[in-house]
Each structure stands twice: as structure tokens, then as C-alpha cells.
Amino acid sequence: MSKHTSMALRRPSRLSPDRLRVVVPILALLAMLVATGFLQPRVMSYFGFTLLLRYSLPLLFATMAQLCILVVGDIDLGIGPFVSLVNCIVASWLADQPWLCGIALVGAIFAYAAMGAFIQYRRLPSIVVTLGFSFIWLGAALLVRPTPGGTVPDWLIAATGFRTPLVPMPALLAIVVAFIAHHLIMRTAYGTVLRGIGSNAAAVERAGWSLLVGRALLYGAAGFCGVLAGLTLSGLNTTGDPWVGAQYTLLSIAGAIIGGAEFSGGIVSPIGAVFGAMIMLLSSSLLSFLNISTDWQLSLQGGLLTLVLALRTLSVWVGK
């Protein structure tokens, strides 16, 4: 394998995996925007964009949460129910008992960090553990709010619907999030160590770094992003629903991976993940503009994910 990649290096192929990783999400998003504009010219305005990107914030944060987990080569099958849990906590308590709500949300973040530490300490596959925890999040959400309802304070609703001048807020925020995540994961010294864990954990451990701290920190960061996703979702929905987050598990995985993350090796791209999240969001609008039943939304999203990964495998073959 290594020999082949080195051979590919000397004559850089036009389809090298590194280049595809960056180019594919950008091109795909552009193509989707063009298609959307062509089908539905009214979208190409401030209000059109605001509407189109209305639900981008929770997805954006959920994707960032998944990205944190992917940094160490793990995967999180519980982020969807976790977003539901946060939504239920916010809708039940934030208005009347803000302190309780704050404590619960901080506790949820710590629970996520503990889950990461548990995975590292027992050397368990993340997929089974996060799947088990997904039931705990869902159960907790149902305990907090057995049926949809509750109220979300007006300030949160106003904040998520805030109108920034010229560029709609979701787009602005996407840029800010991309910048911050890129800085933290790709440019800080410790972010580099964390990506090193995903790439060659033994070597990083030999250099004196604690894998336990690293995993706990990343999972904690994922929990924090999950809380942000739940908060923004609450602001948009203005109510709590224990089942509302279910879709975010697939969407976040697909968004992060389409955005350039490898499933192993600590290779992630926060900026690409932002593009990936937008692609996932637009895919459903595009279907409705094309007059295709939204029944096929899951197919399209699952298919896109498969297609991107298949392209990567093919590009490795072509590179050889």
C-alpha cells in the first residue's frame, strides 16, 4: 500500500485522493446551488437564502460534533438522540428554571466526555458504545418530556431567527464555525496531537501523550457541539420533541465524510464538513424543487455518501 502511494506521489495524478477531498464538496455544493437557482430563481435572494438555510444551524453543529469523534477514527451513532435530549431539556426547563437547564446541559457535556474516556479505558468499539448510549439519551429525553410540547424562551427564538445585514445569519455563522473549527483542529498544537491519535495512536502515546485525556476531550467537544445543535433546533422549532433529532445521526456522518473526513487515520476537514452539511441540507430542498417525493430523501443522502466513498476508492485505483 505505502509503496503504491509513494509511486502515485511522484507523478501526481489529477484524481489524487487529497485533491478530491477538497474539491468534491465545493463543486457539489456549487452544482446544487446552481441547480436550485435554475429551478427556483426566487431562492436567489436574501429571504430565499434565509428560508433555504433555515435548518442549517442544528445540522451544522451536529456535523461538527461528528467531526470531533471522527478525528480519532471513532463514530457516534448517538448524536441524533442526544440532540433530542438537549431539545427536550431546553423546552422543559430553560424558560422557568434556567439554572437547572444549565446544570443539565453541562452535565450532558460531561457525560459525553465520560463516554469517550470509557471507550478508551475499556478499548471498546465506539459504534456499540455510542449505540448503547443512544438509548440512554433517548430514554432521558422521554423522561424529561414524554410527549412533544414545552416552551422555548423568546430570546432563543429571536436569536436563531436573527437577521444580519446583507448575508443571512446561517451563512455567516457557517463561515465563523468553519473558521473556528479549522483553527482548533487543524492549526493548534494540541489539535495536531489529537489528529495524531487518529493516525498512529501508539506513536503518539510513546511520545508521552495521554490517549484517555485526548478521547475524553474530543468527546466532550462533541457533546458541546451537540448542545449547540439542540439549542438552535429548539429555537427553530419553539417546542420540545423526544424524537426530533433522530435524522441527525445519518446526516452528521454523511456531512462530515462527504466533506472530506476519512473513516480512519485522523484525516478530517472542518471546512469541508461545513460544505458537507450544506450539501445534506440542500439535497432535500432540491428534491422538492425537482418535484420528486421527499420519500427519496434518505435514498439520496445515503446514496451520496456511498458515491463519495466509492469515488475515493476509485481514485486510489486510478492513482495506481
Partner: protein, 313 residues
């Protein structure tokens, strides 16, 4: 005592039965009005479905190296809808079974192609194929009759001497899976690959075709689960497969099968299925809500992961 400990080290499935038995005893004082027989029957009825989907998942997990089938919910839902809508037609019950098996085979081949040809990691491959299946089910469900033919429903709930026919068939199927693992080249290859895929390849075992067959079997098991589950409750619904993903993995893990692969215990799957069903029944009897039930299931699974010894390499 020490000989018991030694015995349990290789027969860890016993724990799930002990757990199920303990739950049974705990439950006794709460059983007012309804007899233990009735509780047992309901438990077996639902345990049957957990086992049905769990056997396929067990084979996949036994392959080791991160193999897992996350397309189970999609397969269940699609097979439920397609199966029921066919069941009333000319071909009837047989056609429904045929359709379900065909869906299972299709899902399995799809997964195998994604994993082996396109080299997509199993969890991503099966996750996305699962969503494609789910959306096929959504599209199919529009205007399709999601009601089983009377014959199919009768078959799926028929009892023989108080035991559901399906449970008897599943016991036979579990025995068969056990025999296949023990006594066929295919079964030995599954277990060998799960322990050391390098050693298996160097020994000259046909690892690749075995992996493909296992995914196909898992698809068939999931599809039949979908068909009979839908038939026995009197209709298919779009979220019927949802919780079976966790349950399929939970019965494997709780049943004493190592998540790292290389071993498989059909007996343990039964014990774990009974344990899960009984714990849910107990919670129902206690009158707690769905939240506590999910919470308890999650805690049991995470707890078992916490106490089982990780495999040292």
C-alpha cells in the same frame, strides 16, 4: 466453585439465562391477575423476533474486523411492507416469504459489494445502504396495503402446545446455525476470520466469499423478521425497524459473543433476548414509561460492555 468459574469462562452465554431467570423470580410478586404462563408466552413471542434478527447480526459480528450490519432496520421495514402487500395476492403467503428472502438477498449483496468491491468500511456501507432501503420502504408504503393476509397472520401467531410456531422454527434455526458454525467449512471460516483474518487468509480459507455470504444471511434474517413482525402485529409501519438495530446488537453482546469477533453463541442470543424482553415486561408491569425502558436497555448494554473483559491481543 472454581470449576464453575472455569466452565463459565467458555460458556459465557449462561449469564444471560441466569439474568433472565432472576428477572422471572423478581417478577413473580408483581404478577397480579395474569399468570406466569401468559407472561412467558408474550416473552417468547417477542424474544423470537429479537433472536431472528440477532442470529444474522451475530454471524456478521463474529467476522470481526469491524464488521457490523447497520442496514437491519431498513431491511426489516422494506420487507415488512413488500411482504404484506404481496401476501394477499395470488401467490399469497409463499410469495410473501419469497419476496422477503429476495429483499434480504438483495440487501446482503449490496452490502457485500460496497464493503468488498468498493472497500467502504462496513459500518458506513451498511448505514447508507440501510437508509436507501428505508427510503425504498417509504416510497413503497404510499398506497400499498400494509395489512397481512389472514393466512399469513394466522401462521405468524399460531401456537403449538402453547409455544408459537415461529419460536419452534427459530429454535430449530438456532440449532442449525450452531451446527453450521461447528460443522461446516463455511462456519469454521467465519470463526477463523473473526479471530485472525491474516491467519485465515494464509491458511487458504476462502475469506472473501464467506464474508459476502454472511452479509446475505444477515439480510435474509432481517427481512424475515420484518415480514413476520409486521404480520403478527397486524400491519407494517415505517418505524417498525428502528429499535431492532440496537436489539440485534444487544442480544449478540449480552449473549456472550465477543464484539471483537471469532466466536458466536446462538444459545446466548436466546438467553439475551429473553433477558431483554423480560426486563421490558417487568418495567411495563411496574407501570413506568417508555423513557425508563429505553434508559434501562441502554444502561444494561453499556454496563455489560463495562464488565466484560476486553480481549487482550
Amino acid at each position: 466453585m472454581s470449576s464453575f468459574r472455569r466452565w463459565t469462562a467458555t460458556h459465557s452465554w449462561i449469564w444471560s439465562f441466569l439474568g433472565a431467570g432472576a428477572l422471572m423470580i423478581v417478577m413473580l410478586p408483581f404478577l397480579r391477575g395474569q399468570g406466569i404462563e401468559q407472561v412467558g408466552q408474550v416473552a417468547i413471542q417477542f424474544a423470537t423476533f429479537y433472536v431472528m434478527v440477532g442470529l444474522g447480526q451475530m454471524l456478521v459480528i463474529a467476522l470481526g474486523s469491524g464488521n457490523i450490519d447497520l442496514s437491519v432496520p431498513g431491511t426489516i421495514t422494506l420487507a415488512g411492507f413488500v411482504g404484506l402487500s404481496v401476501s394477499s395476492g395470488a401467490t399469497g403467503t409463499l410469495g410473501a416469504c419469497g419476496a422477503a428472502v429476495a429483499i434480504g438477498i438483495g440487501a446482503g449483496i449490496g452490502n457485500a459489494v460496497l464493503i468488498q468491491v468498493l472497500q467502504i468500511p462496513p459500518m458506513i456501507a451498511t448505514l447508507s445502504s440501510g437508509f436507501v432501503l428505508q427510503s425504498l420502504a417509504i416510497a413503497f408504503s404510499r398506497g400499498a396495503s400494509a395489512v397481512p393476509s389472514p393466512l399469513l397472520q394466522a401462521i405468524s401467531v399460531h401456537r403449538f402446545a402453547g409455544v408459537p410456531d415461529l419460536a419452534i422454527i427459530l429454535i430449530l434455526a438456532s440449532l442449525t446455525v450452531g451446527l453450521v458454525l461447528r460443522q461446516t467449512r463455511f462456519g469454521r471460516t467465519v470463526l477463523a476470520s473473526g479471530q485472525s483474518i491474516r491467519a485465515a487468509r494464509l491458511t487458504g480459507l476462502s475469506v472473501n466469499s464467506t464474508i459476502a455470504i454472511v452479509y446475505i444471511l444477515s439480510g435474509i434474517f432481517a427481512a424475515l423478521t420484518g415480514l413476520f413482525l409486521a404480520a403478527s402485529v397486524g400491519g407494517a409501519s415505517l418505524d417498525m425497524g428502528q429499535e431492532y438495530l440496537l436489539f440485534s446488537i444487544a442480544v449478540v453482546v449480552l449473549g456472550g459473543t465477543a464484539i471483537s469477533g471469532g466466536e458466536a453463541s446462538p444459545t446466548g442470543v436466546w438467553g439475551a433476548a429473553l433477558l431483554l424482553v423480560l426486563s421490558v415486561t417487568l418495567l411495563n408491569i411496574l407501570g413506568v414509561g417508555a423513557g425508563v425502558r429505553f434508559l434501562a436497555t441502554g444502561i444494561i448494554i453499556v454496563g455489560v460492555l463495562g464488565v466484560t473483559k476486553p480481549r487482550e491481543d
